[in-house]
Symmetry: C2
Subunit: 231 residues, 2 copies
Amino acid sequence: MTQTETPATTLSRTLPQTDRTRHSRLREQGSLERSDLEAILDAGFVCHLGVLVDGRPVVVPTVYGRDDTRLYLHGSVASRSLAADPDAPVCVTVTHVDGLVLARSVFEHGVNYRSAMIHGVPRAITDTDEKLAGLRRLTEHATPGQWTYARQPSRKELAATTLLELSLDEASVKIRTGAPDDGDGPDAALGLWAGTLPLTSRWGAPTADPLLPHGIKAPAHIVARAGTRHA
Amino acid sequence: MTQTETPATTLSRTLPQTDRTRHSRLREQGSLERSDLEAILDAGFVCHLGVLVDGRPVVVPTVYGRDDTRLYLHGSVASRSLAADPDAPVCVTVTHVDGLVLARSVFEHGVNYRSAMIHGVPRAITDTDEKLAGLRRLTEHATPGQWTYARQPSRKELAATTLLELSLDEASVKIRTGAPDDGDGPDAALGLWAGTLPLTSRWGAPTADPLLPHGIKAPAHIVARAGTRHA
């Protein structure tokens, strides 16, 4: 998971630590590398957004995109929460499950995963140009090439779209990879099999809308994705 | 996604509606079938748990299991939150992303998914037998066959394990399947390709712990899973 990159911007390549992002459990592998955060965000397109609704946590799946400093989020639930309290904090979590960790003991069982958590107070994007730019990021994040292929939003559609931005300033990353932890402990003598069962997600072949007239082929940027690994 | 089942228990097969589970947006397909809730929970093993920490939402991925009426959750974050306020509500969301919905217009783009959201106040399980039964559910949920294969928790390990239960009484389900919605609208005349790009998750071949002595084979319940579809 470690990546070496030449910093392309003036952003710190190390994530700042706050009370909420500091890793408190040793067995969970925290990362302070910005490249790990970016890799996790770029590997997926659906996050789980936690907001307060009437003082209770509500966790909704929603699509996102990003630039160097901000996450862009679709979300009517978050915007209702934001309308009720413009200073209401949210938490966005993106998780990729890479497989099961099957140890000798149930106690040492676990999951290999990559997860990023972002804390902050989102802002609703209202400026038309800014909203268009954000939606472009979001669309291209999920499906590179689709923004210029599909019909772009009209002014009316833009007005009907809720888009939020959330700073990436306060983020934490946790990654677990590899074998179980009890291979050199007393349970190794049990003679049980131990290892991992990997989980892989792949894009399938594009399925045409049944209403699509014959003769319209899927564009290259969609066809090329079929069979490739996701996340 | 619809399933017809003979009710095996006295539980209502229709989920009760509350202010929080009532579906407020027509374009999202809510389901009130308990079988849909159960199918979504049974298809995965990692949920996103939203808790309040110092009045802010925190969303953590964690493993879960279930019986007919309750969810079982691993979770130190939730238990810390619970210790601070035993009546603190949580929200658990399980989402399976089935693919991208690629419409003629960016505005109609979306995601095919199955998602279940459970609201409630969790309870920490402290009784030893109850904890053992819950951990068995949780272990067998992620890896059927593993509870009897691996070494089961000792009393000391049980004491060190945090297990919560959460009632399934207040749950809502949302499912989106199928083609984009703009196939019979004015954008159909644009002549653009539209359809879906499916996403499928599969179990790979078991990978032995490098510390495993030669000659110990992976058990049948693990080997049989390789290549099968997840979620």
